[in-house]
Amino acid sequence: MRSEDGTRPNSRCNRLFNWLLLAYPRSFRTRFADGMQYTFERQLRDAHDKGGIALALFWIRSTLHALLFGLGEHLSGLRRGMRASVPRTGTEQVRSIGREIRHANRRLVRNPALSITAVLSLALGIGANTAIFSIVHGVLIEPLPYPEPERLVGVWHTDIDEDRWGHARISYLFYRENNRVFENLGIFRNGSTSLTGGDLAEELPATWVSASLLEVLGIAPQLGRGFLEDEESPGAEPTVVLSHQLWSSRFGQDQNIVGQTIHVEGSNRTVVGVMPSGFHFPTPDTRLWLPMEIDRADPDRSYWNSTAIARLRSGVSVAAAQAEMEALAARLYEAFPDRENTAAVFEELQLSAVVHHFKEDVVGDVSGALLIILGSVGCVLLIACANVANLFLAHTEGRRHEVALRTALGASRGAITLTFLSESTILALSGGVLGLALAHATAPAILALAPQQIPRLENIGLNGPVLLFTLAISLLSSLLFGLLPSLRRIPSPAGALQSSGGYRIAGGLRHRRARNTLAVAQLTLALVLMAGSGLMVRSFQKLHDVAPGFESPGLLTMRLHLPGAGPATSTATVAFYQTVIDLVRTVPGVQAVGAASGLPLEEGGTMLGHSFEDFPLAEDEFIPNYLTQLILPGYLETLRIPLHAGRYFDHSDLDGPGRAVIVSAPLAERLWPNQDPIGKRLTPARYEDTGVWYDIVGVVGPVRYESLEQPATEMIYYPFAPLYFSPDTDPIFSGTLSLAVRGNVAPSSLVGAVTAAIRSIDLNVPLTNVRTMEEIVARARGRAAFSTLLLVIAACVALLLGVVGLYGVVSYMVSQSTREIGIRMALGADQGSVCRMFLKQGLGVATAGIILGLVGTFAVTRLLGSMLYEVSATDPFTLAAVSFLLFAVALAASYLPARRATRVDPLRAVGQL
């Protein structure tokens, strides 16, 4: 049917415009919808005549107008409402707010089901967020405890492989002298040392620092002073600075400690200072600081393992400092004696410098995992809010008579909104307080599970910013679900005061759409969380299945430290360890004992440059580094690292001119594929000129030395004696060996007997890091386990909340449709079909949630990328499994209320007419 001006209603565009009109408040639509429709149609036709781009622009403009002006009308409406109901004087305002709160309180108390459920849901969501945020704040947000910490930067080298290098003495001196961007520059290196004297020998974490380092940090010692540059020179008077913790525990806070000597690493050192309590550099474990040896006449250029920190000059940006350091790195060769060759080597390496905030070095790569977890608990809070919103909607549905009455009596829309808001605020704040208590109670448990790799653990607590965060999300939640009922139509007085069934169904339909949407949103979020945690679980499983290359159950480990041992006593050292091994082997229950310079999966490993006879290097080629271990015969057998070719070490390799080495399979396969590596020769690069070569006598199986995620390391094993260097120039190998004891009983039960045996040889030998190999392996899996656990918990809570929401939605549908059910049953529908009707609706919601959830998963799980081991972020098996799980649980949640529908008595239901 055409109208007189020739327009034929284009129903599709009409419907689209109707959708846009939904942005306007209902009152506006009632007033103007017809005219707006017509006007829009005519203008659409005009734009159509003008052609493609004009038409597109027209649609874009119309959409934007609808959104903007629609919002504007909403706000004007609210403003007009508020203006009508806001009391005039100050005391009136306070009194009216007080009254509102008291009324709201009363209403909530009279409705315990709603209140308790809401408060509990909110407490769960808010508590989880508070707990995680306290960790995020302590680790990531709070600034480092030094003056002007934003000016502290770490300075590193990079190379062509994008590996990060530390500094050698020579680079430190060069940069210090030639830069214009730093106020000061210092270097340090972590390690451990032994403190003896009195009755106790302890091995303590210690840090070697340049004298400038303490100045860079800017914290003054509590007693005495820091180091002087003179003390860095070789042969200077040995000094030491103590930590507050050590000073208290070991020296009883002796005020006269400065100037006294203590026995460190076999020699006397004078205490020159004590740092204040709370000074934890680089970690809270560090007990003392020693001056790094820097020979300014001939600075060392072999060991690039020191970390550099600098303090930027005020006004200098990190980018500027980076540019300067890159330029200086390009000139670094100038400091070397052989400038030309060094320049060529550095150029081939593409040696460069990188500068970034020191905080990034402290925090490391933990931030990614933490932020993912924070996002997950944020989702859980949203789901909890959706649940409460649903509850709230049902609650306000039941109160529409009250609302209609108030409106008829003159209450403005703003006043009614205020009522809902005051109720929601009370619920949210109660949930917030309970959540805070929950977080406080569970935080110690969470932190106990956390692997030690989480830095700055000592900073985490429920402090000011965390409390503010809790308050903020509580208020935000209250806005989220409190405004929801008032955004829905407030029923017109006339309509609501009737109790005709016709009106009731219409009202139910509107609210049903809202509740369904919320339920779909909840299930979507729940699926995303379940998918994420499912992927993490699979990744964790795969990691768990990784064979480390040795047999870890049944092994007890510890570290033995011989203070003051040097190359002159290397024979004595070997003899000592051999004695230890022989004695420990006699302990009942012990099957095998071995000793090595380090154990797999523990922190650190020694890299040493090697030359191979078969692969001579050109002049300027860079010397490859390999993970090198010193071992005593029996070590590889104790760890049950399998032998692939050749033989293990035996005692003849320890003395005499024996030059045997064993290599690991990955190295042999790469360098000599399809050949027999036995008999090939190699040597540490530093020995190349001496003509001393080592023969490969055995090839052993691959070991994941550095971490479980990384592929097996290429390793070279030496027998202990020949490579034992003196500790006075950056010891690669000190007198510390790790002992591995295999028993046919539980390793922890051997601790007492083994330590007693060792002490019977020498009472003063410090024994540290006593733990079972399984603990070490578990620790290596630690970080992944922690994140996985948290995500799984979040996903379970999300699933629970989402499913409860779905149950609520289907129950609501059933309760709203009693008349309809009655009619159907009276007309002959059997119970099964009634049940199926509601089941279908519930499953419809669930399916929508699953599909949207899968879409969301594809978008979101790539964030997990780096944390997943050998599992793709869209692993179909996992996604299918969690979808199925959610569907099954949703089925159950829909079935229960659907079954209730079948128990409706048709006569009574129809009789409500």
């Binding site: 103007f32 017509y38 119309s62 107008h65 002006f69």
Partner: protein, 122 residues
């Protein structure tokens, strides 16, 4: 004699040009929304293209401010889909007249200064 309405009228001045055009169109004849938009486009020499969203915003404000009201009368060939018809109220007529006078006053000023003829006054 001060008309008590004077203060109310003055409160609406100066009018935004678009609003002025809308009122002018309604002053000429009662019409529906699209009709007003068409009239505004013609009168402004095709310079002012009002679209649905902005137009209704202005209309709502005019209705709330009492310058315009829905008209009970409809033309004989009315199509109900066109929506309501609108007309100026007495206040609306007063306001549009006052604005016209204000604008005329400004034009007189420019004539005095000789800007209209393009030359400078001595």
């Amino acid at each position: 004699m001060t008309d008590p309405h004077d203060a109310t009228v003055a409160a609406h001045l100066p009018l935004k040009p678009v609003v002025f055009h809308i009122l002018l169109a309604l002053a000429q004849r009662t019409s529906h929304a699209y009709g007003v938009i068409q009239a505004v486009r013609e009168r402004s020499g095709d310079l002012i293209h009002l679209e649905t969203g902005p137009f209704y915003r202005h209309l709502r404000k005019l209705l709330d401010g009492g310058l315009v009201r829905e008209s009970a009368e409809r033309p004989p060939d009315d199509d109900r889909r066109r929506g309501a018809y609108y007309q100026l109220t007495r206040l609306g007529k007063k306001v549009v007249t006052a604005e016209s006078r204000r604008l005329a006053g400004l034009v007189a000023l420019t004539e005095e200064l000789g800007l209209m003829s393009g030359g400078e006054t001595t």
